[in-house]
Amino acid sequence: MKNSIIRVLVAKPGLDGHDRGAKVVARALRDAGMEVIYTGLRQTPEQIVETAIQEDVNVIGLSILSGAHMHLFPKLMKLLKEREAIDIIVMAGGIIPGEDIVELKKIGIKEIFTPGTDTNRIIEFIKENVKVVR
């Protein structure tokens, strides 16, 4: 049984060092009453999935601006499936071209937030999609 507080893992996959967005989102989610774990930079998909399971999170938020998303995201989704953790909602943000967004949604990434997104929209999205036992 899950806790009544939504738990979110904000993660930086790959070698990308742009963490402004990840940190701003992490803080906004925390201020909205969620429990937020931030991985820091240079996380492999394996590390992210492991942390997500260990920390029993409801949501993984991936942030990437290096262009490696089409390599790293599918790998992460595959690992989640293998670990039978597909109940975790995966969302992403960063510099992700429109045609890639279509592909990424097909493999189960629930939403992709591009630059300029209002953090309230992200908060609403999480609240609508996470079914927490209250």
Partner: protein, 559 residues
């Protein structure tokens, strides 16, 4: 007497204006906001007038161009002598592809190259490392060994170009490769012209491509200062960067405060090593961001020059004027580009580029309109370059030196930014200098707070971003975005394997062992690294050897 009369008349007239026509208008039409602020939340007055500059001393605060404290610029003729260098940051895929792009740029009159490396190269991993998957050739060119570097500069005479390399943690290795290919071209290292970024402190603060912990990292940097002062006298040994600090969310004041505090730390470290200040300080260069708030940005560049000159003269007792001159490269602000209505970004970039030029930059990169969506397309890159050319050749701002000087607002803002930055620098001194302030998380926290505040201001519509939180419109998705060839990673790995079979393995192992010995000693590390790259030890092998001696940096996290 006449002076006093004039002053009295001015005071009386101002009073009349305030109590008369101003008051009347304010009563009927209240102003748009209670408080007006700059792009960085610094308060702006309704009006600036001679009263703001009552104690203003022209010689102390501005002086003539090329004279201390260099507020009006570092050269006596500025752009009347030579325009700024238009230096577009480029590089993608493998060395062969990037070489073609550079040759094209040079043929079209560009004299300065600016090399973008991919992330594995920047973090010291070869293309076949497990951490490199998906990243090879993405945000820049992949370099594994001297062989790639030979391809990258094939048919480019290194005595004719100046090359700027955005490389930090493994800067010594890439510089060594550059020296080695110059040697092969028959060019002496003393003729080489260019810059390595080599600024590790801002990597810990904002950019993230660190490898080693601070102490050995600072040693690598000061080894480079020392080596270059003897062997590469024309090389800019560091580009102390505020750009990424600003991108991470810092304000204009924080940008220059933290950058100059880092500058102080590098000078301190070099002095501690026993280097003479006037032998290395003239080769220090800087790199700043240019945002949308035109006056604030121009003031920022001028304030930075004035502060650095004073620091070098008063704090470090520099004697050579060149040690006191803050020379800088500027890039327009990536974080101001919007994914919405991307064509509007052309206008933002134009304003930012104008700020850089009015601020007296030595070189400039203008961003492309599509960079909030992907790596820039060729067409967008061309518009960005043309923007600089229009400013240079059509706007008229380059025809006289520091044209905004003397503006009541600009000079007041320059002073305000100088004071704000000095307050931060003093605070950082109290914390024990910037490496300590970084370790304590002070600088990172200040930046994160500013970034969060900025985001909240946008969401609460205290700050308007056209197309994002106001004036939105339905739009077609942008077409022709650049795609990096996914085959690059495979091709690069194959090349690497082939090269490893060709090289003299015993020699490589011997040189790596010697490198380890040097790393453990107090000797300058550059000659050892140079020997390693010459026998085709890879970037990853060299960095691994250093990792095993120096250890790796881990950031401590606080949100």
């Amino acid at each position: 007497m006449a002076e006093q009369d004039r002053r009295r008349r001015m005071e009386e007239t101002k009073k009349q204006w305030e109590e008369g026509s101003l008051k009347k208008v304010l009563n009927r039409f209240p102003e748009r906001n209670k408080v007006f602020v700059t792009g960085s939340n610094t308060e702006v007055n309704r009006l600036y007038d001679p009263f703001d500059l009552i104690d203003f001393d022209y010689i102390d605060e501005l002086n003539f161009p090329g004279e201390y404290p260099y507020t009006r610029g570092v050269q006596p003729t500025m752009y009347r002598g030579r325009l700024w260098t238009m230096r577009q940051y480029a590089g993608f895929g493998d060395a062969e592809e990037s070489n073609k792009r550079y040759q094209y740029l040079l043929k079209n009159g560009q004299t300065g190259l600016s090399i973008a490396f991919d992330l594995p190269t920047q973090i010291g991993y070869d293309s076949d490392h497990s951490m490199s998957h998906g990243e090879v050739g993405k945000v820049g060119v992949a370099i594994d060994s001297l062989e790639d570097m030979e391809t990258l500069f094939n048919n480019i005479p290194l005595d004719k170009v100046s090359t700027s390399m955005t490389i930090n943690a493994p800067a010594a290795v890439l510089l060594a490769m550059y020296i080695a290919i110059a040697e092969k071209q028959g060019i002496s290292s003393s003729e080489l012209n260019g810059t390595i970024q080599n600024d590790i402190l801002k990597e810990y603060i904002a950019r993230g491509t660190y490898i080693f912990p601070p102490v050995p990292s600072m040693r690598l940097i000061t080894d480079i200062f020392d080596y270059c002062s003897k062997e590469l006298p024309k090389w800019n040994t560091i580009s102390i960067s505020g750009y990424h600090i600003r991108e991470a969310g810092a304000t204009a004041i924080q940008e220059i405060a933290f950058t100059l505090a880092n500058g102080i730390a590098y000078v301190d470290a070099a002095a501690k090593k026993g280097l003479d200040i006037d032998t290395f300080a003239p080769r220090l260069s800087f790199f700043f961001n240019a945002h949308n708030d035109l006056f604030e940005e121009v003031a920022k560049f001028r304030a930075a020059r004035r502060i650095w000159a004073k620091i070098m003269k008063e704090r470090f007792d520099a004697k050579d004027p060149k040690s006191m001159m803050l020379r800088f490269h500027t890039q327009t602000a990536g974080c101001t580009l919007t994914a919405q209505q991307p064509d509007n970004n052309v206008v933002r970039v134009a304003i930012q580029a104008l700020a850089a030029v009015l601020g007296g930059t030595q070189s400039l990169h203008t961003n492309s309109r599509d960079e909030a969506l992907s790596l820039p397309s060729q067409k967008s890159v061309r518009i960005a370059l043309r923007t600089q050319q229009i400013i240079a050749y059509e706007s008229g701002v380059a025809e006289t030196i520091d044209p905004m000087a003397g503006s009541y607002y600009l000079e007041s803002m320059t002073k305000k930014i100088e004071q704000g930055a000095m307050d931060y620098i003093n605070k950082i001194d109290q914390l024990g200098g910037s490496p300590k302030a970084i370790e304590k998380g002070f600088i990172q926290r200040e930046i994160q707070n500013s970034a969060y505040q900025y985001q909240k201001d946008i969401e609460e519509k205290k700050r308007i971003v056209v197309g994002v939180n106001q004036f939105q419109s339905e739009e077609e998705p942008m077409k022709d975005l650049l795609k990096v060839n996914p085959e690059i990673e495979k091709r690069q790995t194959e090349k690497l394997n082939k090269m490893k079979k060709k090289r003299n393995e015993a020699k490589v192992q011997k040189e790596l062992k010697l490198l380890r010995k040097t790393a453990l000693s107090k000797q300058n590390i550059m000659p050892s690294i140079l020997n390693c790259v010459k026998c085709y030890a890879t970037l990853g092998e060299i960095c691994d050897e250093l990792r095993s001696v120096f250890g790796e940096y881990r950031e401590s996290l606080k949100i």
